[in-house]
Amino acid sequence: MEALAISLVNAVPLLAGVPLWTVTLLLMVAVAAVILVFALTFEGVGSLVLRKVAGDIQARIGPNRVGPNGMLQFLADGVKLVLKEDIIPANADRLLFKLAPYFVFVGSFAAFVVVPFGVGLIAADLNIGIYYVMAVTSLVVIGVLLAGWASNNKWALLGGMRAAAQIVSYEIPVGMALIPAVLIAGSLSLQDIVRSQGGLLGIFGWNLFHNPFTFFSFFLYFTAAQAETNQTPFDLPEAESELVSGYNVEYSGIRFGLFFLAEFGDMFIVAALATACFLGGWNVPFFHVGTLPWIWGNLLSLGVFLTKAFAMVLIMMWVRWTLPRLRVDQLMRMSWKYLVPLTFVNLLGVSLWLLVFRGKGIPGMIASLFG
């Protein structure tokens, strides 16, 4: 960010008198605003698409009243959420009750910082990118648990407890399934991971096709991440049929809106991480984006990245409307007896593969056969 500020000061002579830290700070705020707007737009449109997909899959029509073909439904929903009365139950723990939505929202939104949207489009290319995402999304657990506890409602408490158990359990397979990508790139930075999948191999340069273990790793990650973000086959914390609405049952208005937004934000983060770590990120197949002029290269890579990420989001929705909800014991069994051992085996496999074949994947070896 500071490098960007320096180049901006050099480019615009008017800024020469302004102290560097001011420019940097302003730039940070601007970038944060851009990402926030992107996140909110995604969440709005995402909720509409989710409902439309649900309608299609369930042989219904879905929202079609607000605007042409229901396109503006998300605006109506948003206005409704903002205008609703903000109710705090009389017996709730007021401070914690108010605090919980911020934890959840911040936990989900802070992960957008390291999402590599394009060649140069990343808010902060942290050298501990994946680690940072794993750490910061854990904040959601605290928020959900707080919400469940502070509501002073049995359903909310049960939902919060389930969420805590679930998110903590599934964090392990998620982390373990992402490590193969880190091993191949030799870096925790998401930009480095994306760059390691570029080159002339096209889509076969992706980590997905690197070797059989990474291929399985992708699906393990996708399953575990869906569970970690409480997507529907694993949405026990808010299971409507048992817990009414789970941890957010006592929330209304904009506070509920924050939970809602965080859920969609998590969805995008999962899709973005899957794209960056396994599906080549912003790499355009058979083409080196870095050679283009800055603006075109970024736009092209942004388009490629978003296309892949949105495709992943669509698949998540598809899964969401297909599978029935698991039971609590099934959920725990799936994590501890299936996903955790499998991801460990995978990790071991990838490590051995990299050791034996000196870091080369199957497509790479085939390519080197033909020179």
Partner: protein, 222 residues
């Protein structure tokens, strides 16, 4: 659990998930699968023999009271007076459609097929009273009663006159008796305007017969 069962579980999970996803994808892609009927704009065709709202054709209705008797929840009420030709004349016919359960017994029992189900099924009101269907306007009831009473009285006077004429034609049997008969007819004619409120409805607060009592009750309540 052995290793074989463990691996079988995994394979089964993957296979069944794929199967389910294929089904939902087919529904998601095929636009013809939609079953939604967008109600106010689109409507389903009403089947034959549909039991919708009740309608009574008061011109054919004979006020036989059968529907009132057969109705299991007493939602039909009617009031009638005996006309000059000894037939019953309707002066009010109300159906509380908010209470009706559309069993169709009244339609089955109606001897002249004046009471029928229509195909209507949409009705909304802000007050319960608005759900009562009046087939004869409440304010028409006293008028009808008065008219019928007048007709009856006229008929009675005519009958008395005829009887008197007959009595006069037969002088041998004594005039005193004939005069008595004529007097009795006149008395009957005078009595006639007082209607017989036998089939009076319990529900119709507009019933003109009990007007004074209703007014008194109203005062008490206030």
């Amino acid at each position: 659990m052995g290793l074989k069962a463990y691996l079988n579980d995994i394979v089964e999970a993957v296979v069944t998930t794929a199967k389910g996803m294929r089904i939902t994808a087919r529904y998601g892609v095929d636009p013809k699968e939609e079953v939604t009927l967008q109600y106010p704009e689109e409507r389903w065709e009403i089947p034959k023999g549909y039991r919708g709202f009740l309608h009574n054709d008061i011109k054919t209705c004979t006020a036989c009271n059968m529907c009132v008797k057969v109705c299991p929840i007493d939602c039909i009420s009617l009031e009638s007076v005996r006309g000059a030709d000894k037939k019953m004349v309707l002066c009010s016919y109300d159906i509380n459609i908010g209470r009706c359960m559309y069993c169709g017994l009244c339609v089955e029992v109606c001897p002249v097929n004046s009471l029928l189900h229509t195909s209507g099924y949409e009705m909304a009101s802000v007050a319960l009273g608005e759900l009562i269907l009046h087939f004869i306007a409440a304010e028409d009831a006293p008028e009808i009663k008065a008219r019928v009473a007048r007709q009856v009285a006229e008929a009675a006077v005519k009958a008395a006159a005829q009887a008197a004429a007959k009595a006069a034609e037969v002088p041998s049997s004594g005039t005193a008796e004939a005069a008595k008969v004529a007097e009795a007819a006149k008395a009957e004619a005078a009595k006639a305007p007082v209607v017989e409120p036998k089939a009076a409805m319990e529900e119709a607060p507009q019933a003109p017969v009990s007007e004074p009592t209703v007014a008194k009750e109203g005062e008490k309540k206030e």
